[in-house]
Symmetry: C2
Subunit: 277 residues, 2 copies
């Protein structure tokens, strides 16, 4: 996929929603736990219920790894199901990987070749050679952590440099411009740090941003759109728990559908306000 195709899907659906498939076997409806593959069954229902309002899905790898081999199988089935039934979907592996060059090459192979994801989240701490092996795949994206949505973001990401006063997350945005471009890189910018969004857009005006932290974590969709939206939308706003766990009864898929639709409707309004649809 490329930015233009992603933007076309956003316009078509009137949505820049990414649904996070953070599927925890202990949080899904009890009646699903007796099936052969509860995680996959849950995902399948959630996907069918939300796909009309969604341009991207983002399984968080931790939730699958914590189930061992069974979890990996559920993940493979989930990505395959999306590919077969919803070919327009942008598929993100939320993996936050990053290692020395020869190792990152192996991760790139895992996510782009073996599992056919469109994008993978990568941590920047180890620098250029930990990111570049992901960038050689045409039509695939690194989504680099810049400013994360959690409290711990304040521990290091705001460290201001001696000579310039530049904060670490700004340095990550700036330096990484030399590694790739807006057709193979995106950035994670948390919705809970919305006061930094205008500054972020000065450094990376054209890149897509993956924005977690709306919903359960408290960020505002209105503010994200106000300060972060560009002429190609340039936003994928993630919601996980508020959608997939909207109910844990028999109506869980219906409630997920309603929650996704509600978010889509708000997004539709914001896209219209910006004159993009």
């Amino acid at each position: 996929m490329n930015n233009q195709q992603l933007f076309e899907n956003i316009k078509k659906k009137g949505s820049f929603l990414c649904v996070g498939l953070d599927t925890d076997v202990n949080k899904i409806p009890a009646f699903l736990r007796d099936t052969t593959d509860p995680i996959f069954e849950f995902n399948k229902e959630i996907i069918d219920a939300t796909a009309s309002y969604t341009v991207a899905y983002k399984p968080n790898l931790a939730f699958y790894e914590s189930e061992g081999m069974d979890g990996w199988l559920s993940l493979e089935k989930t990505t395959q199901y999306i590919r077969e039934n919803y070919p327009d979907i942008f598929l993100i592996a939320d993996a936050k990987r990053g290692d020395i060059g020869n190792t990152s090459s192996m991760y790139a192979r895992a996510f782009f070749e073996k599992m056919n994801f469109d994008a993978v989240t990568v941590a920047p701490y180890m620098g250029e050679d930990s990111v570049k092996p992901f960038l050689i795949y045409s039509g695939k994206y690194v989504i680099l952590l810049a400013l994360t949505s959690n409290k711990g973001a304040f521990d290091f990401q705001f460290t201001a440099e001696e000579t310039s006063g530049e904060k670490l997350f700004e340095k990550v945005l700036r330096i990484s411009q030399d590694w790739g471009n807006e057709q193979n890189m995106m950035y994670v910018i948390g919705a809970t740090k919305v006061e930094e969004l205008s500054g972020v857009r000065k450094i990376v005006p054209n890149h897509f941003l993956l924005v977690p932290g709306v919903g359960a974590q408290g960020g505002s969709l209105q503010d994200v759109a106000k300060y972060g939206m560009n002429e190609q939308c340039g936003l994928l706003v993630n919601s996980s728990r508020a959608i997939i766990y909207a109910s844990n009864s028999l109506d869980f898929a219906q409630k997920a559908c309603e929650s996704a639709k509600e978010t889509r409707d708000e997004m539709y309004g914001l896209l219209k306000l910006k004159g993009l649809i």
Copy 2:
């Protein structure tokens, strides 16, 4: 395991060697590729050949993930084989994970509960709440990335802070002292940055350091011991490629054994020089 037990093993074996099981199916001897599980067969041979000279093994997760489900099975078999046959071994998941709190909890569960590793490498970029969920497991360790062995380490890890001049990796060492202690945290310090080791030891005198970068990456074992060894040794020096790929013919296990023994002999001398054995 705790630091004292690890130190006892180091004294018993006269070695602080960690063998990195970065097993790439394309690099192992051709005749193994026809077996049902080439990665596990290779690992088994390497482990049996090197366990007398080694206190730790460190599978790098990327190499297993890149093989999909088969790779995860090979990893499970490998860790199980080590647990059953070499119970004294300290087992490190080189995974470089790190995510918001509820997600890091899932990774902790994956590595400590499902796979029974003693330690997992974690990236510090997302701060405290991304690390703490790993620290609640008694007898288990986070090995936090501080100063890595690769070239990309210079991109961000040396960023000096505005007011104090403190470098980012020093800040990681300092701040993370509040999260845990030397019985549940270690640090990654690359052997290729040995000129920083004395400074590192001023901040973390008692913690164990996991030191990659000796061998294929060019770091010096002598220098690492000179500037990094403390009264409990405090070092796990990793070597991967120089040992596991010492040969790719029929004699690969024998050559790995010789390479590990050579490193052990050098380590034995360094432990003796320090008066620890």
